[in-house]
């Protein structure tokens, strides 16, 4: 993935939009690329700026989307695939509301390009469970009121699900501090953190937080 870091939009932003706009010879934007779909980040490919197809696995199903190479994974998910669980909040990797798992690792979808996930496995909050059949973790979030407005919740859940996955059989040894570390990149403005921690520890079968965090 070393090469992908160079193509990140973060770099483009650092250079400044104006520089990029003036230094690129733009083809008509609605032109279609005849390039075959990119299915692997290691495929040699010279594409853009017109939309080019990229394929990956999204929540267990094959997905293909035709986007400009500069389009972030988050925008491709939300705008082109209408997958709106991941939210756009800060748009620069500071808040975690867009967190998805890429090959099992929680990542900020706003800090990756759609073409970065060619051939990869992308998991959003929608894959954790449906409203009719919530996962244990989701159900615990609801029980503990670990969500208020709910806008951070998708990202918060993906970070927590990744933590539980990572810990596997030792999840019942999780501590409040470890949960807080896992969600350190997920900002919430309503104030749900203590309830998120309680929900994760309960799901993990770990002892509840030792400090007093509930109503007495």
């Amino acid at each position: 993935m070393a090469s992908s870091t160079l193509t990140r939009r973060g770099l483009l932003r650092g250079v400044g939009t104006a520089t990029v706009v003036t230094s690129c010879v733009r083809k008509p934007n609605d032109g279609k690329s005849d390039h075959p779909p990119i299915t692997n980040v290691h495929t040699p490919a010279e594409i853009g700026p017109e939309p080019t197809s990229v394929s990956f696995t999204l929540d267990g199903k094959p997905a293909i989307v035709q986007v400009e190479p500069r389009v972030t994974l988050l925008e491709a998910l939300r705008l082109d695939l209408d997958v709106t669980g991941p939210k756009l909040v800060c748009d620069r990797g500071a808040c975690g509301a867009c967190t998805v798992m890429v090959d099992g690792v929680p990542r900020n979808a706003c800090m990756m390009l759609a073409h970065d996930v060619a051939g990869a496995n992308v998991t959003t909050v929608a894959a954790l469970g449906t409203p009719e059949a919530l996962s244990e973790l989701q159900a615990a979030f609801v029980r503990h009121d670990a969500l208020q407005c709910g806008f951070c919740t998708s990202g918060m859940l993906v970070s927590c699900a990744a933590l539980l996955q990572r810990r596997g059989p030792t999840r019942n040894k999780l501590t409040a501090e470890e949960v807080e570390d896992a969600i350190a990149g997920n900002l919430c403005r309503c104030g749900t953190y203590p309830h998120v921690v309680a929900a994760v520890l309960e799901t993990a079968g770990a002892p509840p937080p030792t400090s007093r965090r509930g109503e007495a």
Partner: protein, 779 residues
């Protein structure tokens, strides 16, 4: 009106008062009422949709043929527009519509002001095209800080008078400022007694300046709106708002439409802390831009602010520079409180300091609170969660602690002795025991004496708020259908407080059903008039209307049951699960009863009566309850690094009868976390040389993360105030008022020297300890 006796009280106290109830009013749920569903910890009913990512917020809505708009914002803090051309932008790829928002000769008043907008097929194409809008500015002198702006020589921000922008987020009864002199515009003064004379005679006087910063709302979902015209005289609108009807009214006014032809939907809102009223935001005409671009292009237009825009032009909590003078006589009686503040709401108004100084320590006979807006070339402020109060509480409570230290008084005793609110006094006494106040203060003194590196400290502060619930403002419809489905409908929005869940509980309580069986329809203007979620009014305004509507439907159901069972309505007993029984032993299940409805649905509407009464304390002499709350905070300060770690907060609040202990606790948690973030982390930084915000994002504008917060203990003290048919009062705002104040007092206790400026950063702590050469006083 019927004169009715109801039981009121709190803790172990009970009294009977008489109130006048409208004829149609059910018997209020007073102190005697024992409820099964209301008050319980019920998880929110939309939880499953939110945790599965299926809840569609405004930001998630996509319509066929929809365009995305983006706004070009002024890059200079003060300027005159020389020329503007959209010709090149209009030709950019994907662009369908353009709109100039200024014309030559217009003045720019802050960096971030609307200049032009485009609508394009994709958001990134709209943003790209903005680079091709050609604008010529003639730069003008500007000022972005209060101290400079208040000087007579400062550049004038406004020419002429400034209109106050009041929203439902503002505390009722505030505003109405005077005429500006230079950039300084005074607000009404609150006073009693003669504070100057009293402080002249006082045995001990403390005087100092206290500073608070500008805080931004930083709701996670930015301001945003989608407008889709239906013909040329009607529109459908989706908006991330705290007031669906305020959105409707603003759009109807802008476009000259009948408000009935503007339908506003807000199914889910990604947070609202006071800035989301109307179709626009305080510093940007979002409603006009989306509506006008939709009109000219003939396509739906979506306009969402990005984070930068959200930070600079959608409102903020004003800063304050407060001079406090407080004094006690030789016996330790508080004789005077004088607070005088300058603060900036940017180009807007409303930099007040709340009610704490005037309204909490009412046994102090002489008080004067004066505040002025100082105009600066910054984005306009607007109401933010308890407008003015956290600022005022911080200065007042820290000043009282400093006075107590000087006069060798116990700061907790000083507060309890001068507070007339029986609930708050009780909360303070109980809280001190639960918190271990006395032992903790001893430990702080010991650590100070031993000059340890790590120091613990504790502080305490008070909250004051009113029951601003509004009579008649919310009209709720209850539908009961032949298939047994019970629906309650109202146009109110749920900004994350859980009002929909509480509505289900109230309906379930009346009908003795499972709350999960109630269908709640909210977030749409078609569902009937309601209040905006500001002033902590929603629960108090809406729940009585729900109850009254469902009670009416129940009366109709009982009439049907009576006819079916061959009894008089008065002989029908309503039981668990909605089963009806007569004295003769005849019975009918709820499902069977509904099947017998003469029409396919019963439809009953209810509204909330005017607030009947208040007990045991009124808010600022008004006929409404004063809500009480106290918070105790403990911090640990590293005197080598200056880092303040919030250790724990004990919050004791009342909000009338608690409707849902789970969601109410979440509100208090949220208030404390917001307050902690305000105390220690958040600060808008303006560049004095360029007049722009330096941290318009979420990585250098710090909001508290999971490791930045204290352990929180919440105690909700039910108070039966006799105010409305459910007894509910709001809690959103009072919960954030005392947190920063309590933390600042705790830092003072830990260090022995005060840090009189928020946020309490390591640099300020070290300066206060005299560890920064040339700054502060050595310990």
């Amino acid at each position: 009106m019927t004169r009715t006796k109801i039981d009121v009280g709190f803790g172990d106290t009970r009294t009977t008062i008489e109130v006048d109830l409208p004829e149609s009013e059910p018997r209020p749920w007073d102190a005697r009422a024992e409820l099964a569903v209301v008050g319980r910890e019920l998880p929110r009913i939309d939880g499953a949709l939110k945790v599965s990512g299926r809840a569609r917020y405004t930001f998630d809505i996509s319509l066929p043929r929809m365009l995305h708009a983006a706004v070009l914002r002024a890059s200079l803090p003060a300027a005159t527009i020389k020329s503007i051309s959209l010709a090149k932008a209009e030709k950019r790829p994907g662009v369908v519509g353009v709109l100039a928002l200024v014309k030559p000769g217009d003045r720019v008043l802050f960096a971030g002001q609307d200049v032009a907008a485009v609508a394009a097929s994709r958001p990134e194409l709209a943003r790209d095209a903005l680079a091709y809008v050609e604008v010529e500015y003639e730069a003008a002198p500007f000022v972005v800080d209060v101290v400079t702006a208040a000087k007579a020589t400062a550049p004038r921000v406004h020419q002429g008078n400034v209109a106050e922008r009041q929203t439902e987020g503002d505390e009722p009864g505030t505003g109405r400022g005077g005429t500006a002199e230079g950039n300084v515009r005074p607000m009404p003064v609150s006073q009693r007694g003669n504070v100057d004379a009293a402080l002249k005679k006082a045995a001990v006087v403390h005087e100092a300046e206290y500073i608070t910063q500008v805080q931004t709302h930083s709701a996670l979902e930015t301001h945003g709106i989608i407008v889709a015209w239906r013909g040329d005289d009607a529109m459908d609108v989706w908006c991330s708002t705290q007031g669906t009807f305020s959105v409707r009214d603003e759009l109807a006014q802008i476009f000259g439409l009948d408000p009935r032809n503007v339908e506003v939907v807000s199914d889910y809102v990604g947070g609202g802390f006071g800035a989301k009223f109307g179709a626009s935001a305080p510093g940007t005409r979002l409603g006009f831009v989306a509506g006008e671009l939709a009109r000219t292009t003939g396509r739906p237009v979506k306009l969402m602010c990005d984070r930068h825009e959200e930070q600079v032009c959608t409102g903020n909590r004003p800063d304050s520079f407060q001079r406090l003078r407080v004094g006690v006589d030789a016996t330790g009686r508080l004789v005077g409180i004088h607070a005088k503040s300058l603060g900036t709401a940017g180009i807007g108004t409303g930099a007040g300091i709340g009610r704490n100084a005037f309204g909490v320590y009412t046994r102090c006979p002489n008080v004067r609170v004066e505040a002025s807006d100082v105009f600066t070339n910054c984005g306009p402020a607007t109401a933010m969660r308890a407008p003015g109060h956290p600022q005022g509480a911080f200065a007042l409570e820290l000043a009282l602690d400093e006075l107590a230290a000087k006069a060798k008084l116990d700061p907790l005793r000083l507060r309890i002795d001068h507070d007339e609110h029986p609930v708050r006094r009780w909360q303070a006494e109980e809280g001190a025991k639960r918190f271990g106040w006395t032992a903790a203060r001893k430990r702080s003194a010991d650590q100070r004496a031993r000059n340890t590196r790590l120091r613990r400290g504790v502080g305490m502060a008070a909250s004051i708020w009113g029951d601003f619930g509004r009579g008649g403002a919310a009209q709720v419809t209850c539908r009961i259908a032949r298939d047994g489905r019970v629906t309650v409908e109202n146009g109110v929005q749920d900004i994350g407080t859980g009002i929909g869940t509480v509505m289900a509980q109230v309906a379930a309580e009346v009908l003795l059903l499972d709350p999960r069986a109630i269908t709640v329809r909210i977030g749409h203007t078609a569902y009937g008039p309601s209040v905006g979620s500001g002033g902590s009014t929603t629960t108090s305004s809406v729940t009585p209307a729900v109850r009254n509507a469902v009670e009416k439907a129940k009366i109709e159901l009982i009439a049907v049951a009576a006819a079916q069972l061959g009894a008089k309505p008065s002989q029908v007993v309503w039981g668990a699960g909605g089963t009806v029984t007569t004295a003769a032993g005849k019975t009918l299940s709820f499902a069977a009863l509904c099947k017998k409805l003469p029409a396919e649905e019963i439809l009953a509407t209810g509204s909330r009566a005017r607030t009947y009464g208040h007990h045991p304390a009124s808010f600022m002499g008004e006929p409404m309850q004063q809500i009480a709350g106290v918070q105790f905070a403990e911090v640990e300060v590293d005197t080598w690094t200056g880092v303040v770690r919030p250790v724990r907060v004990l919050a004791i609040h009342d909000a009338g009868r608690i409707m849902n202990r789970l969601t109410a606790r979440s509100q208090v948690n949220g208030g404390i976390i917001l307050g902690t973030s305000y105390a220690l982390l958040e600060e808008r930084v303006m560049d004095r040389d360029f007049g722009r915000m330096l941290n318009p994002n979420l990585e250098s504008y710090k909001i508290a993360g999971p490791r930045d917060i204290p352990d929180i203990e919440v105690v909700l003290t039910d108070v039966y105030a006799g105010n409305n048919s459910t007894g509910a009062i709001g809690i959103g705002e009072p919960a954030t008022i005392p947190t920063a104040a309590a933390i600042a007092c705790a830092v003072f206790d830990a260090l022995g020297v005060p840090v009189r400026s928020l946020p309490i950063t390591p640099a300020k702590v070290l300066a206060a300890l005299g560890k920064v050469p040339g700054k502060g006083t050595p310990t």
